[in-house]
Symmetry: C2
Subunit: 178 residues, 2 copies
């Protein structure tokens, strides 16, 4: 996006701060078929996606930011468990998960603000377990893109539940075909 | 989705009623780069997408529902102008458009509720200018899928503005690659 680095942190906080309300507007008290249906074997439902975002708040974004600030490239990030949510979300309702995510995201952004990251610090580097050397700026941009990617995914999964229902209109809705 | 027809109308209203809040949470007062950037020539920005949804409220969904209920297949729907928003949104802010869409959607759903559509009426047919014979049930399902499709599109377009910023993480974010 070629954002000036001086605007990087406020804009990151701005977009990340929206995600709980976006997901809550979309999913809170929504019909069960739309919350728990996925796109087929080994794909995720909106319910699974919220669990994945929750896991990221506790284990990924802020912990990795701290690791870059405190240790630079000398320590490797913990690998991110992309399947943790299947165990951790068991027995919870979508409304439970949405509330839990909102609370954790609020805490994450408070922590990010308290770090008062400077322009210079955005160029600091850390070590990703499979990608190697990455910058703090790339980590924070990825946090935003990861949110948006999973919001788009949740909406797409919901949309695809209507594939048969739309009849001949399917040809005008490319999201239903690939 | 194989929804019982008795739940079709309440569920349609439930999902359609969420869209203004989802879009407002995502876009109200958001950074200009994210609102007006698109995916390249002849693609739409989030700003363009909201204009398209506004146009649908005034010319497409409720007018076509009424046409099926009043005239069946004997009158052909007006073709939907997919480019009307470029003229109609000129000079407006994203916040203007979000408010306009929310007002129109509220009116559309009031109109839909007043029609008190019965299970039998969901099988009534109308004539689409290019798709031919369609049912009311297909029209209403398409309204929902069309909303979700364009929410997913708006989020994807925002996400893709981060393609360069995420550095090596791009390979973990398939939304950025196709």
């Amino acid at each position: 996006m070629k954002l000036g680095v001086t605007r990087m942190i406020p804009q990151t906080i701005n977009i990340l701060g929206r995600t709980p309300a976006v997901l809550s507007s979309l999913l809170k008290d929504a019909p069960a078929e739309l919350i728990t249906s996925n796109e087929g074997p080994d794909t995720w439902s909106p319910f699974d996606i919220i669990g994945h975002l929750i896991h990221g708040e506790t284990t990924d974004w802020i912990p990795r930011t701290r690791m870059i600030l405190n240790y630079g490239e000398s320590r490797t990030f913990e690998p991110f468990d992309r399947f943790a949510q299947f165990e951790m979300s068991k027995g919870k309702s979508i409304n439970n998960l949405l509330q839990e995510f909102a609370t954790l995201r609020h805490q994450s952004l408070d922590a990010l603000k308290e770090m008062k990251i400077t322009t210079d610090q955005l160029s600091l580097r850390g070590t990703h377990p499979s990608l190697g050397s990455v910058t703090l700026r790339e980590l924070l941009s990825t946090w935003v893109a990861h949110d948006l990617s999973h919001i788009a995914q949740a909406v797409r999964v919901m949309c695809r539940q209507y594939t048969d229902d739309v009849g001949p209109w399917k040809e005008f809705l490319p999201i239903l075909s690939h």
